[in-house]
């Protein structure tokens, strides 16, 4: 216990500042962006869905929970069920074998039902493209609000994407 307490003190607080939203990642015409984060009282819940990724994006989404990005400290939480979620964070090209599950997760999510596609595969289908086994980009299967490029995008960029989806577009 002594060691444990000493280690916590020694490590200190390493949380860094949150990034600014990036309007270029918004997928136009989908919906009027509002300052959802304010409406939600700084309590955004996210259901992460791996629709066919190589697991690279998941590693970086995991990193969002580390003390440097301190997601929960910002009021953003990953939840176990789409029914508890305000947002789906979807990675990968949508594997054909995952198409039904992804649609069902989307239908189970209550409004505002924000969708952020993460990674080059989620944005365009990436290196896997479209084939007998891959439906390509996430927006081929469900509506997408914000798409974050990168292979994989670093945690800061994923956080920027999440914040872009929940803040109003800059005039």
């Amino acid at each position: 216990m002594l060691f444990l307490g000493r280690q916590i003190l020694k490590a200190g607080i390493c949380t860094e500042k949150a990034p600014e939203p990036n309007d270029a990642w918004r997928i136009d015409g989908e919906r009027i962006q509002d300052n959802v984060l304010r409406l939600l009282g700084r309590a955004l819940t996210i259901r992460q869905v791996d629709a066919g990724s190589c697991n690279g994006c998941e590693l970086e989404i995991h990193a969002l929970n580390n003390p440097y990005y301190n997601l929960e400290g910002r009021g953003i939480r990953f939840v176990a069920s789409p029914r508890h979620a305000d947002m789906l964070l979807v990675t990968g090209p949508v594997a054909a074998n995952m198409k039904i599950a992804v649609r069902r997760a989307y239908e189970a999510t209550p409004e505002p039902r924000l969708v952020v596609a993460v990674g080059d595969c989620g944005c365009t289908g990436g290196i896997f493209g479209e084939s007998y086994a891959s439906c390509g980009r996430v927006s081929n299967v469900i509506p997408v609000d914000v798409a974050v490029p990168g292979c994989p995008p670093p945690p800061l960029e994923i956080l920027r994407g999440i914040l872009t989806a929940v803040t109003a577009k800059q005039p």
Partner: protein
């Protein structure tokens, strides 16, 4: 058992790892499987390819890890519909590989017990075999909800818990069907293949010099290991030897990948046993590690750093010095955290005697890699077949005989310490020189093997080049193929709430086995 003891006329393959290949008939195929199985030799991979356009019909390949290298046995699948003799009765790990082979190529193992589909769910018709040369991989079909015959367990008070494909966390998708009584798991049946995205088909026709990018995305946590294995296979086909400095830098990247994954897993394992402190601490260390990757190599997960012919990044002396200094810092912190883990009664209570795979079962079912070493399987390619630079580094293999979660935790701690030692040695001893040699792939034809000890275990890349600088067929094999079935055994008799902990202690790849 050595390759020559199989009594077959194996031809040596060029390349960094010792490997040989032989064409056999049905009787020799079965006899070889029998001989290897009775000598305790492990089946590494089983796959197939369509060579009808070359007048060779359908070909099935099996790779075995003999004492002196990899023995690749090649059989022409005869008959209509084409088939080959089952090997899963001798190598249970082959069962799912054979089912996948049928789903993709339409070549059946005759005599196999289980003929259910594995990678084909409802997304393409049962008479469409994507890996046949004449199949159009770009076609898309209407996805149908599949019906899959899970094995049912009957009895008083027995019920099922279906989990997935989407899991309750940030994890890859797959389906687990638990049959339980009370809280106790009687049986677990896995249904994988959800993230099958047609990687094998995608490889077809890619330029040999570029396909390492796809190999590096078979499983994102093992991108270095796959890229190295692909590069090794391409260099073997092209007869290219990499510059010495490139080999050393590849090992540097591979050991950094190993440490990053072990740091992540150790944190997650603490968290799954309700010690959130562990996750906070280890994820902090992992983040520091990945940031250094980004600054020195230009990518946090080290994607695309290894290329055919060498490496894409060459850190200068200052950067290498920095990597060495980071090892010292991380080593002290990990040692402190290990003491905390070891002395934490609540944590040890969850870790010890949970999810046991006995060494006997591990040997019989071919448990690979890190999990295998935690169940008394003394195998590590860096020790058994040390290619450059491991032949100069005298790698110490980690090991534990307990086979429980605690053992898999201990092996991770030991491997971090050893990898830090290797990184220090590499940064001091790496020779100067060029970092990449051009690969002359234009006329490269034939077959090459890449075999690398990734952080999870040994992975294999089997490459066929078409003679015009392109990939004809490339198969990537992940050790998760061998280890997933062992997870089904490890959870028997444990309580359901321990499943996430046991699962994490293996941390197997879904994408790597679904392809």
């Amino acid at each position: 058992m050595r390759i020559a003891d199989a009594g077959l006329d194996l031809q040596l393959l060029a390349g960094a790892m010792p490997a040989a290949i032989v064409a056999v008939d049905d009787a020799q195929w079965s006899a070889a499987a029998e001989a290897f199985a009775s000598a305790g030799v492990r089946l590494v991979a089983l796959w197939g390819s369509d060579r009808r356009d070359l007048g060779e019909g359908f070909v099935v390949m099996a790779a075995y890890a003999a004492a002196d290298g990899l023995a690749c046995v090649r059989l022409r699948a005869a008959g209509e519909p084409p088939s080959y003799p089952d090997v899963s009765s001798r190598f249970p790990a082959a069962a799912r590989m054979q089912r996948a082979l049928f789903d993709l190529l339409g070549v059946r193992a005759h005599g196999a017990d289980d003929e259910r589909p594995w990678l084909r769910h409802g997304a393409w018709p049962e008479d469409f075999f994507p890996l046949r040369r004449d199949a159009d991989g770009g076609r898309s079909f209407d996805v149908e909800q599949e019906r899959y015959d899970f094995v049912t367990v009957a009895g008083d008070g027995v019920h099922e818990i279906p989990v997935g494909p989407i899991h309750a966390g940030i994890i890859e998708p797959g389906h687990f069907r638990f049959s339980i009584v009370g809280e106790k798991v009687l049986r677990l049946e896995e249904r994988l293949g959800y993230v099958h995205k047609g990687i094998d088909k995608r490889f077809e026709g890619m330029p040999l010099g570029d396909a390492h990018q796809l190999a590096g995305r078979v499983s994102g946590d093992s991108t270095v290991a796959y890229a190295w294995a692909y590069a090794m296979a391409a260099e073997s086909v092209a007869g290219c030897e990499v510059p010495p400095r490139a080999a050393w830098l590849r090992a540097l990247l591979l050991e950094r990948e190993r440490v990053a994954n072990h740091l992540g897993d150790l944190g997650a394992l603490g968290n799954d046993a309700a010690l959130a402190f562990g996750l906070a601490q280890f994820s902090r260390l992992r983040e520091q590690w990945l940031r250094t990757n980004s600054e020195v190599f230009g990518h946090r997960l080290l994607m695309d750093c290894i290329v055919p012919g060498g490496v894409a990044v060459d850190p200068d002396a200052g950067a290498l010095e920095r990597l060495r200094a980071q090892c010292d810092g991380i080593e002290g912190e990990v040692r402190t955290l290990r003491t905390i883990y070891d002395e934490h009664a609540g944590l040890q209570d969850r870790f010890q005697a949970t999810g046991i795979v006995t060494p006997e079962l591990a040997a019989r079912l071919g448990l690979a890699g890190l999990a295998g070493r935690a169940s008394g399987q003394a195998r590590d390619l860096r020790v058994d077949f040390p290619c450059a630079p491991y032949d100069r580094l005298d790698v110490r293999r980690a090991g534990d005989g307990r086979g429980d979660v605690a053992a898999r935790v201990a092996v991770r701690f030991d491997e971090i310490a050893e990898s830090l030692r290797l990184i220090r040695a590499i940064t001091q001893q790496a020779p100067a020189g060029e970092m990449r040699r051009e690969l002359s792939v234009e006329s490269a034809a034939g077959f090459g093997i890449g075999w690398v000890e990734g952080w999870r275990g040994d992975l294999l890349v089997a490459l066929e080049a078409d003679g015009s600088g392109r990939v004809r067929r490339c198969h990537c094999h992940d050790p998760s193929w061998q280890n997933w079935p062992l997870l089904e055994h490890a959870v028997i008799g444990n309580i359901v709430p321990d499943f996430p902990l046991i699962n994490k202690s293996f941390n197997l790849s879904y994408s790597g086995q679904d392809l």
